[in-house]
């Protein structure tokens, strides 16, 4: 009995440490400028960071812990805590995950590879470019995790065929895998449906700054950044891996044989693609009035009613813990804002940095970009946006800047710091193939982050203030 308990204590030591941190901060004497509730929520934030990094308990259970502590520490009444958990963004995340299941179920992978090879044949660099752009364009709408799941076999087949044809041993074939991983990761901020983290920012803008950003407005702000980054990524991959010409000659014939065995594009396939296109159309045109979440649910309803998706698929393949986790993190962000904790940190940051409005704006953008990239690298992009969102929006208020611009800086910065295999869903899934060494993520991630830093700062200084003033 004792041995079992001691084992659990050792195995879950980070949980106990995180809880102790939260409790100590909750019990500390109050600072004059920080409310007791604000202090307690900061304790919960620190606890969450530790739990997200070390995962001593399943992350959905962390959400329960957040809800329980928000009530126990007296931050809010139970009804208010429950209310703070649900928002349009959470419904949107749930709907997007369900739609992704319908898409992954289709046999799109072989068709994509067939399309690429028919276009590129034996030209390796053109194949890499096609992978980067196709993964990117799909990920910007469907979410990077679905694209990585669909395109992993595509890139693996290319790797195998290339390895068989190229005599010398090298790491060059990895370029196909990295093209998919980073193509999808870079483009996932293109539209709100590209990833759950985008929905968090939309929620913060609406509930903290009172600005409702539509699907189309997000695209106008973010898609040019994606379109600027994808060619940069391609040149970076080609420069690092220097893929030799040729070696894919028999890939096309292999795939034709494979495709020959496969059935034609079925009615279900057509219906699924049509529903996805319709949903994107509705998001672009009606997200202002209908909201993002209900439109995603319309897509899911259509999938179920038309029979391309059944409840068993949804309940089995959707990672239900993700919306629960994001719901709790959004709730935490909202309480950071309403208890004054975000204000307190933003004030401190402003004081420390000593930037004045106007001349210091560029320096402030540089600092916030760096901060978002650093935190994104440590806790991954979703939690980084959730934790830093309230602080960045308050910072914008204090320095008289546009909260939309600062929010975009945060989303882009946190999403472009992919130094490790676990930094983004696409990188993790591709790493799961066992063919990419960890060091390659550092090699590509660091170079991409350095370039992205300059590009983000340029966008934040020149482009985003220009477009957001017209929203």
């Amino acid at each position: 009995m004792f041995r079992y308990l001691l084992y659990q204590i050792e195995y879950r030591r980070w949980l106990f440490l995180a809880l102790a941190v939260a409790l100590i901060i909750h019990l500390l004497p109050v600072q004059t400028s920080l409310t007791p509730a604000g202090k307690s929520i900061l304790g919960i934030v620190l606890m969450t960071v530790v739990l997200v990094i070390f995962e001593p308990i399943p992350l959905p259970v962390v959400s329960f812990l957040i809800a329980v502590l928000e009530v126990l520490f007296g931050i809010a009444r139970p009804a208010d805590v429950a209310q703070s958990f649900m928002s349009d963004s959470v419904i949107f995340i749930m709907g997007s995950l369900m739609l992704a299941v319908a898409i992954v179920k289709q046999q799109l992978d072989k068709r994509i590879l067939f399309f690429i090879l028919r276009l590129t044949r034996d030209r390796v660099r053109l194949t890499v470019m096609s992978l980067v752009f196709i993964a990117g364009l799909l990920a910007s709408v469907m979410g990077e995790h679905s694209v990585a799941a669909i395109m992993l076999p595509v890139s693996l087949i290319l790797v195998r065929i290339w390895q068989e044809n190229q005599v010398r041993e090298s790491n060059q074939p990895i370029v196909f895998l990295m093209a998919v991983a980073y193509g999808a990761a870079v483009a996932a901020i293109g539209t709100p449906s590209g990833g759950a983290r985008n929905a968090i920012m939309l929620s913060y803008w609406e509930r903290m700054s009172g600005v409702r950003v539509s699907y189309l407005e997000w695209m106008v702000g973010m898609y040019p950044l994606v379109l600027a980054q994808l060619p940069i990524l391609y040149f970076l991959l080609v420069r690092v891996y220097r893929p030799a010409a040729g070696g894919l000659a028999n890939a096309y014939s292999f795939l034709r044989r494979e495709m020959h065995q496969q059935r034609q594009f079925s009615v279900e396939d057509w219906i699924t693609v049509s529903i996805l296109l319709l949903t994107v159309f509705l998001w672009i045109v009606f997200s202002d009035t209908l909201g993002l979440g209900p439109i995603a649910l319309i897509g899911v309803l259509l999938c179920v009613v038309s029979g391309v998706l059944n409840w068993d698929d949804i309940s089995h393949d959707v990672n239900w813990g993700v919306p629960i986790l994001y719901a709790s993190i959004i709730s935490m962000g909202l309480w950071m804002d309403s208890t004054g904790a975000a204000d307190w940190i933003a004030d401190g940051l402003h004081f420390l940095l000593g930037f004045e409005t106007g001349g210091g704006q560029l320096l402030l953008i540089i600092t916030l970009t760096l901060l978002s990239m650093l935190v994104g690298a440590v806790v991954s992009s979703g939690p980084a946006i959730a934790l830093l969102g309230p602080i960045f929006l308050r910072q914008a208020q204090i320095s008289g800047a546009d909260p939309l611009v600062f929010g975009m800086v945060l989303v882009a910065g946190a999403s472009y710091s992919n130094f490790t295999p676990v930094s983004s869903p696409a990188c993790t899934i591709i790493y799961g193939s066992g063919m990419v060494p960890r060091s390659d993520y550092w090699k590509i991630g660091l170079r991409l982050a350095l370039v992205s830093f300059v590009v983000i700062v340029a966008f934040a200084y020149f482009y985003w203030p220009f477009v957001t003033s017209r929203f």
């Binding site: 041995r3 195995y11 799941a149 992993l152 993700v322 993790t428 799961g432």
Partner: protein, 293 residues
């Protein structure tokens, strides 16, 4: 007998696997080889599963089967598997079990069951779950250079006997049996006797006493052990030493020794706070350590 050999990858675990197979084949034990994979983060677990399902639609070797094939290759190289017409005798092809576990069932050279299993998660937790589900007689684990956390957890929290493989060598090993006046040491002595008979090796018995008034007890233990080993005609030597236990064992141990000892009989809390002799030896020593439970 059923042994569990735990490995963490292809290259670094070759020595552990070879050593474990040497012991298993001598004792004609069924073997399960457990490979523990790093867990995928919770965020992407479902998506990673979906990617795996997608891969099944292609003529590709998946990562899971690739690792299993690598272990199978190692077993063939070690001449541990039964071959039928130049091919491995497979009992059951790789298949998924409950709880994200993969299993591949082969036939050993002497008809033993050889299973290759793959789990995902924390190493100690995976080994612990494995030993709860299946009754193993011995768990064989390689000791990495991580400061001994793994060694401590394995010795302290795993139920069956444990063999910590450190610096495995291509030499015939002798047993160094550490005895004291405890029930666990008596079990270790029985195990050493049986193993020495099967492996046809000698046993050096080490009885350590920390205080002068314990010398008689140590002498009696040594005499009893000598009588036992003599009866079964196992070559042996008896050494009675005085001093701190850990330091004395580390001083007496030779490069070709496999250390055999019982677990600490102190309470779990004491061991948690202050450690134990087997853990200290497992961490500080350079030889394989067998803790008989």
């Amino acid at each position: 007998m059923h042994f569990l050999i735990c490995i963490g990858g292809e290259q670094q675990s070759r020595g552990t696997l070879r050593f474990g197979l040497m012991i298993s084949s001598a004792l004609r034990a069924d073997v399960t080889i457990l490979y523990v994979r790093r867990p995928v983060s919770f965020y992407f677990r479902k998506e990673a599963q979906m990617a795996r399902q997608k891969l099944e639609g292609w003529p590709l070797e998946t990562v899971d089967s690739a690792m299993m094939k690598a272990i199978e290759r190692m077993l063939v190289e070690e001449k541990y598997l039964r071959m039928v017409e130049g091919r491995v005798d497979v009992r059951q092809m790789p298949h998924a079990e409950k709880g994200g576990l993969y299993e591949y069932h082969l036939c050993g050279q002497y008809g033993e069951n050889v299973r290759i299993r793959e789990r995902e998660g924390d190493v100690v937790d995976s080994i612990r779950r494995e030993t709860i589900e299946v009754a193993y007689d011995l768990v064989i684990v390689g000791a990495p250079g991580d400061g001994g956390r793994l060694v401590r957890h394995i010795i302290q929290y795993i139920e069956p006997s444990v063999l910590i493989v450190k610096n495995p060598r291509e030499v015939p090993y002798r047993f160094l049996l550490c005895l004291n006046n405890s029930e666990s040491a008596r079990k270790a002595q029985e195990f050493a006797l049986r193993s020495a008979l099967l492996l046809k090796t000698s046993v050096d018995v080490l009885c350590i006493h920390s205080y002068p008034w314990e010398e008689n007890v140590a002498m009696t233990l040594g005499e009893d052990a000598a009588r036992l080993f003599k009866r079964f005609r196992v070559p042996h030597t008896i050494h009675i030493r005085r001093g701190p236990v850990v330091r004395t064992i580390l001083k007496e141990i030779q490069p070709d020794h496999l250390l055999v000892m019982g677990p600490s009989e102190r309470s779990s809390i004491y061991q948690f706070l202050f450690g134990s002799v087997p853990v200290e030896i497992g961490r500080k020593g350079n030889n394989p350590v067998l803790v008989v439970k």
